[in-house]
Amino acid sequence: MAALNIKKGSSSHSAYDLRDPHAQAVERHTLAVIVDNEAGVLARVIGLFSGRGYNIDSLTVAETDHAGHLSRITVVTRGTPAVIEQIKAQLGRLVQVREVHDLTVEGPAVERELALFKVAGTGDKRIEALRLAEIFRASVVDSTLESFVFEITGTSEKIDAFADLMRPLGLRDVARTGVAALARGV
């Protein structure tokens, strides 16, 4: 099918997608939404998801182009292929949305999250936590005699795995940034 030349929107577009829309399998997609950095834009994007009953697994937002006044919102969402296409089309028609990229279908992408873990404990547990942190390449950014704060970056799966390991070792608190993602290559 002919490629569409839509200013807003990714190469995979609601109207022109070839995958079977009736397929019921739920897929996880990472979307990068480039928006005008103006008041209310985040509320609009979030309101779209809640108002239309779409899922948000993760949401990250920050200004990425100060001169151009643009922010990048990275959303990880779930849905059947038809729902994912609908989400992209709905995002694309928001006035403040410049581009919508589906990093999951546009080619390989790098996804990273940063997390901070506070782990409290003494004796063997404390030593085990430190050892595992090393294996995961987490760094210690704060320590007392009874606790550590680890900083770790990686895929969401890696951070989930680290959380599972820390839990029996005295995990007290977690702060995660949500996913940031970029397409690989140029």
Partner: protein, 584 residues
């Protein structure tokens, strides 16, 4: 002209530069500076409404009957919240309106100030876009952008919230041509390859149908013209949604009537049985397909729409064409003609024979009566006595709305204003005033139900004050008729709160407003009474007492496919299954 001016003056200047001649509004503390400017000029006419919801519906009526955006001005807090139903209505029906709201001064925002409401927050989901302007220097440009966004792409309502200090402060005015709008330029030309596929479909179709909607009307007069040309040249049958009536003339030879839940038998069966469906500016709203799984099972479908989110939202189509209806139809016609204007004439003739057989069922027939005025009969007489006049119709919501859609005919676009997507009772009276303000010499009739009409009846005062000679043709069945019909079919005839009790005497009510009241309850008197209504030079409330228990047919019960349509009373027992009953 000096470019330095107050925010309030800027509002008026920007409206003038946008070609606005009428504003529907209601004053209050937070918009007083703007009202002061309105007082000191004569180019823009202000229509003082009686409730802000009325202002928005008037602006909708103005917009839909002229093709130009309607403009509303209301105060902060309750003024803004009263506008919410109208905004949602305009969003659902893609009507371009620009609403200006006052707001508490910027330094008070967030303090729960008097008449403060989070207007942009409240209206975010019911506008196409909205703005809070905190700087007078940004005000003019924002207003111009608002007009641009309301009228480009899929039209819709926009709102600008203007704090009072921004109205008082002085800033630099920016004229329309200097306003930045390049970031919002939806694509209007359709994709060439897709258009080619559509043309191939047209050439080979055996049982084609055009399924058209409000998008044709929103696209402008050229779209209706091109549609007529294409339909007549191909000889294909054409049906339309409630929103699209008039885009193709009801008197046109290919017209097979409205489709949908209360659409015509032949139109719905043509949709069910076609092999090629060409959707032009409609959106497969749930009143159209019935049960999705069984919708038009044997057809290949093309869909022309300017909104990418409408394509493949409900129904999967083989040929999606993203673009403006007029632009796309122009390209389709050009290509189809260049390739020899071919259709499968023989097959299409057979298809017409089939449609003719469905037509013969005469699905709108009803049992006439000599004693009681049947609502269908009332609408038929209204049609017969006003057809050919310079006529605009609005409606409220309910059975009367469906009878109006079934029995009135429209040969031009922009003549039919009804609340389709939201189904807003209380829409028709204010909308009729908005239409009349835009077309002072036309005959403007609101076909109403008594219950709906009461919802915004205060606007009768507006009609009288501004000498808008609107005709309120109320089909008074003393029932919330459509609710009653569903209770009969669906809830064991338990008529829970579907009676219109303690109704006012509509004739006295008219007189109390300073309007004319007419009552009619005998079929034999109806024609004369309607003629009296038409010839009266001023607003009229016509209390037409109709048969109370008439049901509206045909009807596709919720959750049923098109070919399981109900035609009349005998077929209605136990027809809506449990699954259908949860649908609305």
């Amino acid at each position: 002209m000096s470019r330095q001016m107050t925010g309030a003056k800027m509002v008026i200047q920007a409206l003038k530069d946008q070609g606005v001649d009428t504003v529907f509004g209601y004053p209050g503390g937070a918009v007083l500076p703007i009202y002061d400017e309105i007082f000191q000029q004569n180019e823009i006419r202000h229509i003082l409404v009686r409730h802000e919801q009325g202002a928005v519906h008037m602006a909708e009526g103005y917009a839909r009957s002229t093709g130009r955006p309607g403009v509303v001005l209301v105060t902060s807090g309750p003024g803004a919240t009263n506008a919410v139903t109208g905004l949602t209505d305009a969003l659902m029906d893609s009507i371009p309106i620009v609403v200006l709201t006052g707001q508490v001064p910027t330094f008070m925002i967030g303090t729960d100030g008097f008449q403060e409401a989070d207007t942009v927050g409240i209206t975010r989901p019911c506008t196409k876009h909205n703005w809070l302007v905190k700087d007078t220097d940004r005000l003019a440009e924002t207003i111009h952008q608002a007009f641009h966004i309301a009228t480009h792409g899929r039209p819709g309502p926009v709102l600008i919230d203007i704090p009072k200090d921004v109205q008082f402060a002085t800033g630099t005015y920016v004229p329309p041509r200097e306003a930045r709008v390049d970031h919002y330029q939806p694509r209007v030309r359709g994709d060439r390859a897709q258009i080619e596929r559509l043309v191939e479909m047209i050439e080979t179709a055996e049982r084609p149908v055009f399924y058209t909607g409000g998008g044709v009307i929103n696209s402008g007069p050229a779209a209706s013209q091109l549609l007529r040309e294409l339909v007549d040249a191909t000889g294909f049958p054409i049906t339309s949604t409630l929103m699209g009536l008039g885009a193709y003339p009801a008197s046109g030879k290919n017209w097979i009537g409205m489709l949908g839940m209360h659409g015509l038998y032949e139109a719905n069966l043509a949709m069910h049985g076609c092999d090629v469906m060409i959707n032009v500016g409609a959106r497969f709203d749930d009143r159209i397909p019935g049960r999705i799984k069984d919708f038009s099972p044997g057809s290949r479908k093309a869909h022309i729409d300017i909104d990418p989110s409408s394509i493949n939202k409900v129904i999967h189509v083989e040929v999606p064409i993203l673009g403006d209806v007029a632009h796309v139809l122009e390209d389709v016609l050009k290509l189809w003609k260049a390739r020899g204007s071919r259709v499968n004439g023989e097959a299409v003739a057979k298809w017409w024979a089939q449609i003719g057989a469905w037509k013969a069922v005469d699905c709108l027939r009803y049992r006439p009566s000599d004693n009681a005025i049947k609502p269908q009969y009332a609408v038929q007489r209204l049609e017969a006595l006003t057809r050919g006049m310079n006529r605009y119709i609005t409606t409220e919501v309910g059975q009367h709305q469906m009878w109006a859609a079934q029995f009135l005919t429209f040969d031009e676009p922009n003549r039919w204003m009804t609340s389709g997507g939201l189904g807003t009772m209380g829409y028709g009276l204010p909308a009729s005033i908005g239409v009349q303000i835009a077309h002072p010499d036309a005959l403007v009739i609101n076909v109403a139900g008594e219950a709906s009409w009461l919802m915004n009846m205060q606007e009768m005062g507006t009609a009288v004050q501004f000498r808008a000679p609107v005709k309120q043709f109320i089909l008074n069945n003393e029932r919330l008729g459509m609710v009653r019909q569903w209770q009969e079919l669906l809830h064991g005839e338990r008529y829970s709160h579907s009676w219109s009790e303690s109704l006012p005497d509509f004739v006295k009510l008219a007189e109390a407003f300073g309007a004319r009241g007419i009552r009619c309850d005998r079929p034999a008197d109806l024609d004369d009474a309607i003629m009296e209504m038409i010839s009266h030079d001023g607003p009229v409330i016509f209390d037409c007492l109709v048969e109370k228990h008439e049901n509206c047919f045909p009807m596709i019960p919720s959750g049923k496919p098109h070919n399981e349509m109900l035609l009349g009373e005998a077929e209605t027992q136990g027809v809506i299954g449990e699954k259908g009953a949860v649908l609305v």
